[in-house]
Amino acid sequence: MAKSTKELWMENVFDDFGGLILNYIKTIVGDAHQAEDVMQNVFIKLWKTEIETLSNVKAYVITAARNEALTYIRKRNKTHLRPIAKECQLFSREENTLRKMCIEEALLELPQEQREIVFLKIYAQLTFQKIADTLNIPLNTASSRYRYAMEKLSQILGEKNHE
């Protein structure tokens, strides 16, 4: 059976942004399994979205993923459910595995608002203006928060190297 326009659009969105969305959700919720649940909710929302009205798909899916992840965290806090996995894999493990694991671990030690800004800057490759718009914060806050986050990340990794 031929696929509908919406089905093709959904498939393209998954192929283009699936990895980005999933790993962004992981950085917010801090748990790989819970991130997959949230990702399914994001796609259920996308099924209901009028695709013709979207001007910037990437920005839209990032915002949708963030909203869904924050809603999930609020519910999780109410039910006292906590992130299960201590390890939350963000990067493919084809090479340099140990270093990547260290950085993932260090990233998860940052406060949630700092780790998501690092993710949005480096992996979503958003400008500070776009990040500020997405997170609904002033531009200066976005850039300074990113700087603090990267400084702290370097510091944590430095400490880990000395351990």
Binding site: G18, N23, M150, S154
Partner: protein
């Protein structure tokens, strides 16, 4: 911490590929969700309504048996109601409502309190 150090880390992180989602997750995400109303149909609603009516009626019958009167015995019901209205001791019957008629006076049980309609 000097800037070049975290800039170096930034460059290093830029080189990392993100983990790709598993195929089964792709399948789950791309499965068309059921259309709204699939699990909520009129026959189901009708069945639920019928169940509520039956449950309410059996609850009423149970009440009527306990109070030792029935719908056909309007005189005893009316007297009982009038007495209780006069003394303001009518209990609160919340789960059902019905109307008893005697002569020109109507005694109604409904909602959370009873009214005596002229």
């Amino acid at each position: 911490m000097s800037e070049p150090q975290w800039k170096k880390l930034e460059q290093e992180m830029l080189g990392f590929q993100l983990q790709k989602p598993a195929l089964d997750l792709k399948q789950k995400c791309l499965t068309t969700p059921p259309a709204p109303g699939t699990f909520f149909s009129w026959p189901l609603l009708a069945a639920a309504a019928a169940l509520i009516i039956v449950a309410s009626w059996s609850s009423y019958e149970n009440f009527a048996q306990q109070k030792n009167f029935n719908n056909n015995d309007t005189t005893s019901v009316s007297h009982l109601l009038k007495n209780r209205l006069d003394t303001n001791t009518l209990p609160r019957y919340k789960k059902f409502s019905t109307t008893f008629v005697k002569d020109n006076n109507t005694y109604t049980i409904g909602g959370s309190r009873a009214k005596w309609l002229q």
